[in-house]
Amino acid sequence: MRSLPGAIGPALIFLAGAGLFAAAGRLPVVPVPGQLGPDFWPRLVLIGLMASCVLKILEVARGREGGGEPTALLPLSRPKLAGGMALVLGYPALAPLLGFPLTTSFFLLAFMRLAGTRRPLPLLVTALLGTVALLYLFVKVVYLPLPKGAGVMEDFTIFLYRLLRIF
């Protein structure tokens, strides 16, 4: 909890736990008499979560964050982190639209560039050959129906599969 100011983190989790505890009470089933309802277990778990948050807050308040050594963290590169997160979240967003082959080639290119690969030729060759190898392994051998894309992009992916003799 080093970077979270004081006990704000556990307090927020406590509040979320309380909200979910209330939500568990609104589950739409009347339990069978003599049997525990579907809300029993989640509520038990949420009580545990809230109790551990209180323990954590007390721990912070007493200045005893106990346990092992904190990991050696250095200042992070915010542009790289933002770029990395955008790519990681953009990948599943674009794959159903553009299809797995095109999105993966783009993702590999962009991520390797962001992570420090400078030379354009190896970058391009790795991204393209890597995508083709993955297609052969997972679509042709394992029969995994990876996203083909929507509309015209689906036609493009099927054309690509035929060209590569995957279909």
Partner: protein
């Protein structure tokens, strides 16, 4: 005894027949590769080969499946040690220590020790299976959901010894994971919990998405952002990344960890529903408890790696005990194997030993052989996967995320699982950043639903009488051990403070 030895000799001859031996080799290779790839589990690969076994006799069919099982439970340790990506949840404790050893430049020893511990655990458990199946099965037969619940609680309690930041932090993480395990359609009433109208949450959160996201994607983002010391190159140099088998002296020094891992693996493996994952967490926790330097756990400790790896493979022999002697499959893998038995017109159970001794003892010997051959196959596999470490970090990181994408998608052919994986990846980054321990959350997601299932079934069976957990001796003993695990850190702190005051 002599009859058993004679049966074993006949089983050895049958196992060495070309087709049977080939099935052992093929099964090990498939198992190790499938186990090593996140998202493609050992169980998936056993299911995938089932149609091929229709064409075979029962012995090669079962040798193929048991070899996949043996190779599969080990395979995930390779990628765990090399890339911090455990292939299966059962390989998570091995990853905690193995990857740290890798970062210290001891990757060869970590891989070699994992291979040897797996082989020893698997071999000895197969021996135990051979000689002690019937009495063992009688004990397991007396277990009900009450005992299963107690064993799962023991697995959850190990969070205290796993947690590296603080007990409160570890418990927060554990309960958050257990809550995630409650999301989706609930089994008893069939209603949807905590989906909040989001369609893909109705089917629940697959623990593989949590596992891949928190470990693999979170690690890649952490290294990419340069927040960790030595980011981008903190794994061992490629020249040192081949496996090196430990010397007899090193193995002897770790004999205690091996014996404890073996015992935990066989006992927990023999309990239907518990399996290799619970065995690995419990044995790791036990090892930390008995260690003279528990604070070093999580920094690359061979004892932790050895115990968990021994127990994982020892659970394979244990899991076969209820299947062969009682006809009760205790895990997904043994359930598929039971299907193979039935497809060939053989009913597993007490009569199997008298009706089909040839088949049974060939499987026993096949398991013994598979564990020995796994040393060679493991070395070759580790060497092949280690070549990946020569790949420049940016390329490796990009492909790791792509494999995570495919692994998550392959679970249900659903983009929702990919989204969850990526989102858990982002969460994993922040958990690392703010020093919240990740392993307890994983443990909660995996064991939480099991705990709920066993608890509610016990309550239905025993009229909501919670005292049943304390009146049944095995359950009471296991729960007492769990309480001891939970209270031990506080007690140890109190004793230390008292000692300091006296001085």
């Amino acid at each position: 005894m002599w009859e058993t030895l004679a049966n074993l000799a006949a089983g050895l001859a049958a196992s060495l027949e070309p087709l049977n031996f080939l099935m052992i080799l093929v099964g090990l290779a498939i198992g190790i590769v499938a186990g090593a790839l996140p998202g493609i589990t050992m169980l998936n690969s056993i299911v995938l080969v089932l149609p091929f076994t229709y064409l075979m006799e029962i012995v090669p069919s079962l040798l193929l499946m048991t070899s996949i099982y043996i190779g599969g439970v080990f395979g995930g340790s390779i990628t765990g040690i090399l890339f911090n990506i455990p292939g299966d949840p059962m390989n998570v404790p091995t990853t905690w220590e193995g990857y740290q050893l890798n970062k210290k430049g001891q990757v060869r020893l970590a891989l070699g020790m994992a291979i040897m511990a797996s082989a020893i655990g698997g071999f000895l458990s197969a021996l135990i299976l051979t000689f002690a199946s019937p009495p063992f099965a009688k004990v397991a037969l007396t277990f009900s959901t009450v005992e299963y619940f107690a064993v799962v609680v023991l697995g959850l309690a190990s969070v205290v010894v796993i947690g590296q930041v603080s007990v409160a932090g570890a418990l927060m993480s554990l309960f958050a994971g257990m809550f995630l395990g409650t999301v989706g359609t609930e089994a008893q009433y069939g209603i949807t919990r905590f989906a909040f109208g989001i369609k893909f949450l109705e089917t629940g959160i697959d623990f593989v998405t949590v596992l891949i996201g928190l470990f693999a994607i979170g690690e890649v983002l952490d290294q990419l952002s340069g927040s960790k010391a030595g980011a981008g190159g903190d794994a061992a140099a490629p020249s040192t990344s081949r496996a090196r088998l430990p010397s007899p002296r090193q193995l002897w020094a770790l004999r205690g960890s091996i014996v404890r891992g073996l015992g935990t693996g066989v006992v927990i493996g023999a309990i239907p529903g518990a399996g290799a994952t619970v065995a690995s967490f419990v044995s790791y926790g036990l090892e930390k408890q008995v260690s003279k330097e528990p604070e070093r756990f999580g920094t690359g400790v061979l004892e932790g790696l050895t115990a968990s790896e021994t127990s994982v493979n020892a659970s394979t022999g244990g899991a076969m005990i209820p299947l062969l002697t009682l006809g009760i499959p205790g895990s997904g893998a043994t359930a598929v194997m039971m299907g193979a038995f039935l497809l060939h017109g053989v009913q597993p159970g007490p009569l199997l030993f008298s009706k089909s001794p040839h088949e049974v003892y060939t499987i026993f010997v096949g398991m013994l052989l598979a564990n020995l051959i796994m040393i060679v196959m493991g070395l070759l596999a580790a060497r092949s996967f280690a070549q990946l470490m020569k790949v420049p970090e940016p390329i490796l990181a990009a492909f790791i995320i792509t494999f995570c994408f495919i692994g998550a998608y392959a679970l249900r052919n659903d983009m929702a699982d990919v989204w969850l994986t990526m989102l858990f990846g982002v969460l994993g980054f922040f958990m690392r950043r703010y020093n919240l321990p990740i392993p307890p959350l994983i443990l909660g997601v995996i064991l939480g639903p099991l705990a709920e299932q066993y608890f509610l079934t016990s309550m239905v069976s025993y009229g909501n009488d919670v005292t049943v957990f304390f009146t049944r001796p095995v359950s009471a003993a296991v729960l007492l051990t769990s309480a001891g695990l939970l209270l031990w850190p506080a007690l140890k702190g109190w004793l230390a403070r008292r000692k300091a005051l006296r001085v």
